[in-house]
């Protein structure tokens, strides 16, 4: 397991994505899945930056773990985003209406919606004063048919 602890500020987004990339490179992650994971990491981290600590700056901890492939399943990346901000379960938020016209459209909630749609599993837990949001994604290597088509 690896960990990255940093201030929850938007300026630190590149560090978060760099941390993610260190996991993805050795897995030969297909571009499409890499984009999905980058978006998910960004949306979750930026939500912490913008909302968890209200007007102050707090810390965020990101844990990553790669569960090795089995005979039937490709490796799985598990990322957990932890903050000590106000308790908030983003999974309880109502999904945005993605069928509205351009003029009626609102962006709120779209980030976490993309995370829910594109990750294999997303779980939330509030424990010991911490919000813990965990995403799971199986990563079949690029070139592998399962990887190109993916599970989503």
């Amino acid at each position: 397991m690896r960990e990255l602890r940093l201030e929850a500020r938007n300026e630190n987004l590149d560090r978060v994505l760099g941390f993610l990339e260190e996991d993805l490179e050795p897995l030969n992650c297909p571009r499409r899945v890499s984009v999905q994971l980058h978006i998910s990491a960004e949306e979750i981290f930026v939500n912490i930056c913008n909302y968890a600590y209200k007007d102050s700056v707090g810390m965020a901890l990101i844990r990553s773990e790669v569960i090795p492939a089995t005979e039937t399943e490709p490796p799985e990346l598990v990322l957990t985003f932890i903050d000590q901000g106000v308790p908030f379960n983003p999974l309880e938020r109502e999904d945005p209406d993605v069928t509205l016209s351009g003029m009626e459209r609102k962006i709120g909630g779209l980030g976490i919606y993309m995370v829910k749609k594109r990750m294999d599993q997303v779980t939330y837990e509030y424990r010991d004063g911490s919000n813990m949001l965990t995403i799971h994604k199986r990563i079949a290597p690029a070139g592998d048919q399962q990887g190109e088509n993916g599970s989503c």
Partner: protein
């Protein structure tokens, strides 16, 4: 990192994007095109080299579309498969004009 190139021709603003349209760079794009957007009747985004777009980027595209609505059109050209998938999952394929 996002590289933004702009050309304005007879009220038509063309914006070529290269890199990532994320939380950080979406603000840069918004600020960058603001002056031209005040005058443009149409906007074309060339997304051939756009690798990635997050909800912050979608917000800028939607705001741009709303701005030009009524006086012209907004078109996004040469969208990569990865970016198209983001538009599809968010329903943006229905509200944007992709070429």
């Amino acid at each position: 990192m996002l590289d933004i190139k702009k050309t304005m021709e007879e009220g038509k603003l063309t914006v070529t994007l290269e890199g990532r349209l994320d939380t950080t760079t979406a603000r840069e794009l918004e600020e960058s095109i603001k002056p031209e957007l005040a005058e443009a009747h149409s906007v074309i985004f060339d997304a051939a080299k756009l690798q990635y777009i997050s909800s912050a980027g979608l917000r800028v595209l939607l705001a741009t579309q709303k701005t030009v609505n009524g006086r012209g059109e907004m078109v996004i050209r040469n969208v990569t498969n990865e970016v198209r998938e983001i538009f599809e999952v968010t329903g943006f394929t229905e509200i944007l004009t992709l070429e």
